[in-house]
Subunit: 375 residues, 2 copies
DNA sequence: TCGAGGATCTGAAACCTTTCAACAGGCTCG
DNA sequence: CGAGCCTGTTGAAAGGTTTCAGATCCTCGA
């Protein structure tokens, strides 16, 4: 197209400034030269010898256009390299092909997989994902919501940083749908997708109980965190159902940080008990990893002397020296389901808000087994 | 605002359909009721008793507006809950506040961290990130680029699936900047950010050589993959510099899949050698994990009987039973740098294309040490 | 032969913002 | 006291698309 284009087809625009340049003006032209204005629908119409309305029809309702005309228009489009101006389309049609997601932290593997689920579902409907991390900060969350609303996204998938959701209301009233991610909706005016952490805790504990364990250590984070509180509830449910006395069968250890060193510290405390536990349940895989590491250092065999169960089923759980039994959350599916709800809410007239609960799944590996040898 | 709003401030719109409804029309209104049209700048102007031009000035060039007027307009904006119509703004102003990124797979931890770097840098300038995964498929890549271009993003950060980049040219000519991610630009008409994998391979191998190893196993993927080829080149460079004969000092094993089981298979082959190696270098941490696992099963001690080095420094490398020595890539920084280049290219007139190379870093942990005991 | 109705196409209005020339006052300086 | 300047403000044009009422042309049945 440009006369300077090389035959080979390699990129030609935006060359580096020739060293001897004097004119600033010229330099800037050379360097980032936005060559020509984009072609508009008008240019296409002219080239195809039809009206703009017809071009628009080819783009949006091709069945209304006679085959011959359509072909001519399509030819003009490709010849010109015409690209629809999304903003203009959105301005007039009032609807965009973008969906926003605000998660706590996109570098957290949980949200990474969720994001992937969202993206795949959106792609099926030719939507595009605008992704943001709130870092659990309400101010960032709001700022992003505002930016997304300005952008005119169809809706927002939100993993809220805070319990209070009333601030979402103005945005919703203005027509931006919101679906809660990894958090149950407080009432039925909102869609949500969450995982049942109570079941998760119960699954893990029941597994250990069925293996014959009667004294179980539970390494958990602060119960101020909903997930931790729920998992604890599940663990206690399991004991209750098995008619095991909670006071003697459950040893709860709360750690500040649910990571490997937190796990090691918790293990210290559990090993120093007069009446030791035979199994340890961790609220998270990293913590379980710390526990495993500590056990190895103390020459305690897993699972024969101590059974260990984690939570999250992170990528490496299965490839550890002693593969870790863990609770898996259907992360990808969560994302897909949430995107699905949003698209439904945004497009279908008869949308009814839904709260979707996913059930976690226990993945049994070598780290858990019956107690065979005392410490 | 709505008369039905409850005093508590909890969400009220979008209630579930009352069961007895007969009119479909009514139902849809009740269910997803986009209550009223968004307020426009005109409404704000009217309410503040000024012209639309003034409101626009308050929004975009507040210094031009007298303090009193500005206050009145701002009051009107908050009272009405006015949100700028981004599409209209973009249509008229010709510029959007979004940047696209197309990566190979957002659920891959490498790109996850890169994405985070991008996002953080963009947030500083109030830009927003549109993220897409190509799954290494050229068709998805192109489809997404087209969607992003329609959206009118300022530019696209692209981690290309294919060697051929000529197809990017039309998009660039139309004014969408492109910065290559994790891939060096073929020439200086394009910005790029990449990591020097040759250095990475060299670092790892040199480390082992300095520990006294004279016979090293190298578990690598196909050299058709640029990263693998480059790392191999680096390893060979290190041997050359140390004046070690490549034929006898280096045992190369190629695996189909760079994962844990690939590592275990490779280890089998390395252990069956007549003249065994004393150190194993893996092109990737998962592979190293498989190697470690196999070594443990064979009761071979790490690092005394066998040193192991990985590549990538994944999250769990440091928390393994034997913490893994690995090569770390500055992933977050890569993302930041790429976003930085893009913003510069998109905004500054005197932009000069740059190729940025990041150097990887060796993180030494317990899995590597001098050879102390024969197998 | 005429009218109805279908298929196809047209052209202008509308969407909401930004931009900019022009204008209104008020002030300073000569 | 008038010219010139500065500060604020205005109003209309422009940007690219979609939508929709209407215009044309054909075909078919009466």
């Amino acid at each position: 197209m440009s006369p300077a284009a090389r035959a080979s087809g390699t990129p030609t625009s935006g060359q580096v400034v020739p060293s001897g340049l004097t004119s600033k003006r010229l330099a800037s032209k050379q360097v980032s030269g936005k060559s020509h204005r984009r072609w508009s629908i008008k240019d296409v119409a002219q080239r195809a010898g039809v009206s703009v309305g017809t071009v628009s029809n080819v783009l949006n309702r091709p069945s209304l256009v006679a085959a011959g005309t359509r072909a001519r228009v399509e030819a003009a489009i490709t010849e010109l390299g015409f690209v629809r101006h999304g903003a203009a389309r959105q301005l007039r049609a009032g609807t965009s092909r973008a969906v926003g997601a605000i998660v706590l932290d996109i570098s957290n593997p949980f949200f990474t997989d969720v994001a992937r689920g969202i993206e795949d579902r959106l792609a099926e409907d030719d939507y595009i994902l605008v992704l943001a991390s709130s870092d659990e900060r309400v101010d960032k969350e709001r700022r992003y919501l505002h930016l997304l609303e300005e952008q005119g996204v169809q809706g927002v998938l939100l993993s809220p940083a805070d319990a209070d959701l009333s601030w979402l209301e103005p945005t919703r009233e203005r027509g931006t749908s919101i679906v809660l991610l990894d958090r149950p909706a407080p009432d039925d005016t909102l869609c949500s997708v969450a995982v049942n952490d109570v079941t998760g805790g119960e699954l893990a504990a029941t597994h250990l109980i069925e293996l014959g364990h009667k004294r179980i250590g539970f390494v958990n984070g602060s119960t101020k965190i909903r997930q931790c509180a729920d998992r604890r509830k599940g663990v206690r449910n399991a004991l209750k159902k098995a008619k095991l006395p909670i006071t003697t069968s459950l040893v709860e250890v709360t750690v500040n940080a649910l990571n490997a060193s937190g796990g090691e510290e918790a293990l210290e405390r559990l090993l120093s008990l007069a009446d030791p536990v035979t199994a340890i349940l961790c609220a998270n895989d990293l913590t379980a990893l710390g526990v495993l590491r500590g056990l190895r250092r103390n020459n305690i065999e897993v699972p024969d002397q101590m059974a260990v169960v984690g939570y999250d089923d992170v990528e490496f759980a299965s490839v550890l020296t002693t593969p870790l039994t863990s609770v898996r959350q259907p992360r990808y599916q969560i994302g897909r389901a949430a995107a699905d709800l949003l698209l439904d809410e945004a497009s279908s007239a008869g949308h009814v808000h839904k709260q979707i609960w996913f059930e976690p799944e226990l993945v049994v590996r070598e780290s858990s087994g019956p107690h065979r040898r005392p410490l």
